[in-house]
Amino acid sequence: MTSNLQQSVQTDNVFHTENVNIYYGDFLAVKEVNLDVPKNAITAFIGPSGCGKSTVLRCFNRLNDLIKSFHLDGKILYHGQDLYAPEIDAVEVRRQIGMVFQQPNPFPKSIYDNIAFGPRLLGYKGDMDELVERSLKRGALWEDVKDKLKAMGTDISGGQQQRLCIARAIAVQPEVILMDEPCAALDPISTLKIEDLMQELKEDYTLVIVTHNMQQASRASDYTAFFNVQANEKGQRTGFIEEYDRTESIFQSPKKKATQEYVSGRFG
């Protein structure tokens, strides 16, 4: 499978993982993740519930560190640097690799302060007004909120909140933006707006998204990893990557039967 991947994914890689196994305590949650995430592209993780898509995504910016029982073996390389090496500062990792969550989670502060939060943490010395405007424009939210920057970030619509969260992630100028089912809580129109936005963003950023929506993966992504799950005799469910390829191949000519069945909607 690996050799096959390397042929089909011939670009600069931002992430490269080697035999990553992810555990919660003794429980093996995801096994043998071997994956290259190409630069300036959108990589989608699809698969049934509980297959570990989000778990893997959260490993890319060490957000799983917040869970005490979590640990992994194998390597996750970010531009060749092992993210889990002891000398790596997780806080610095998260500054370069941003995250957008399933539920829009703006801070209970003004729209302006939501955007300015990250830059202030980093000690940004430039023109904050300009940065806020630029980030909101980049997040396709400026026209909606330019007259109410003092309004609470929690008082705008769900779709706007999610774009605010994207703009907030952009404001710290990361290289990668991870999105964990960014449209799961949104209506179809807001979803389309976010998808359009993702297409614009991939010129400057590398995006990795988890989605339950297969149309979204086929419409919006360049590469797709299909995660599957298998249970052991104790009933513990371990996720793994069934197939990873260009999105067209996954949806039009999958090599595995399970992928074929999943993308055609026969299970999951």
Binding site: N61, E92, R94, F101, N105, K109, L121, L122, A169
Partner: protein
């Protein structure tokens, strides 16, 4: 399950109109009963308020807040209604203020540690357990503790000793309400902040604490309101004073001890002052509770 298993009154096509059955009668009687019990629970409060207001209101005047306690005067004396307890009001604010000054920082920091850094660890569970034990310790024991630790060491009763006793008394309430408030902050805010590259202390300081502040303030106000009415730990720490005192290391009058001292004397003017002090104290506590409610509502 055939229709024969149900009583005939549940037959298909039965009337939808209200019927008086044993069920509806039972339901009405029970509703009446719980309503009566709820009223009964309010009676002591209103009786107490009525009693304190009717006894204490006669002496309400500005001089209560500006003058010192008078000597005992007989009822026919022209000076019967003179004097006040300004020093006790100052003393109450001083002891409660000192108690808050000590307990609030300690309480909030402890709560931050318990809820943000040590959540669900054995250590945190242990501290939680002992905090609950501490909140069950009778307040007079706090007084004895402060007496032996501060009064004996400094060889003087003092507002500081009372403040210390009240701080120990307030601490469990503040720790518990603050930890609950911090834990109630949705975890997705925590993730948002951490995901933007905030360190844990930046997350706590800039996201978690601001979101929890209203609930924390509410807990603090309730703790203060309780401390203001405490008498037992103050009697032998702040003791009492008939004079103005601004020095935290000197004995100090407080409203609650004034009530205790004056109510049990045979002097009618002192007894009236005790009622008036009770009214002022209740008003202060009531005001604090309303303030706490208002802050919750505003959220």
């Amino acid at each position: 399950m055939t229709s024969q298993e149900f009583p005939a009154s549940l037959a298909k096509g039965r009337s939808l109109e209200r019927a008086v059955t044993s069920k509806t009668i039972f339901s009405n009687v029970m509703t009446g009963l719980v309503f009566a019990c709820a009223l009964l629970a309010l009676i002591p409060l209103f009786a107490l308020l009525f009693y304190v207001i009717s006894k204490g209101a006669v002496r309400l005047s500005p001089q209560l807040f500006t003058q010192l306690p008078p000597p005992p005067f007989p009822r026919d004396s022209p000076q019967f209604s003179s004097g006040g307890f300004g020093n006790a009001i100052v003393g109450t604010f001083m002891t409660v203020g000192l108690g808050s000054l000590i307990s609030i920082p300690f309480g909030i920091f402890a709560a931050i540690y318990l809820s943000e850094f040590a959540r669900d660890t054995k250590f945190a569970n242990g501290i939680n357990f002992f905090t609950n034990v501490l909140s069950g310790v009778p307040s007079i024991v706090m007084g004895v503790f402060a007496y032996s630790l501060i009064v004996l060491a400094t060889r003087s009763y003092s507002a500081m000793a009372a403040g210390f006793a009240l701080a120990v008394l307030m601490l469990p309430t503040i720790v518990r309400t603050s930890a609950e408030a911090l834990e109630a902050v949705p975890s997705n805010l925590r993730q948002a902040s951490v995901g933007l590259g905030a360190s844990s202390y930046q997350t706590v300081l800039k996201v978690i604490l601001p979101a929890a502040i209203p609930a924390i303030v509410t807990g603090i106000i309730l703790a203060i309101a309780r401390a203001a009415g405490e008498t037992a730990p103050i009697i032998f720490t702040a003791l009492f004073s008939n004079f103005w005192n601004w020095d935290p290391w000197r004995p100090t009058a407080t409203l609650s001890v004034l009530v205790y001292n004056f109510a049990i004397t045979p002097f009618a003017n002192w007894q009236e002052l005790a009622w008036a002090a009770s009214l002022v104290l209740i008003t202060l506590v009531l005001f604090a509770n309303v303030l706490a409610r208002w802050i919750i509502r505003k959220r």
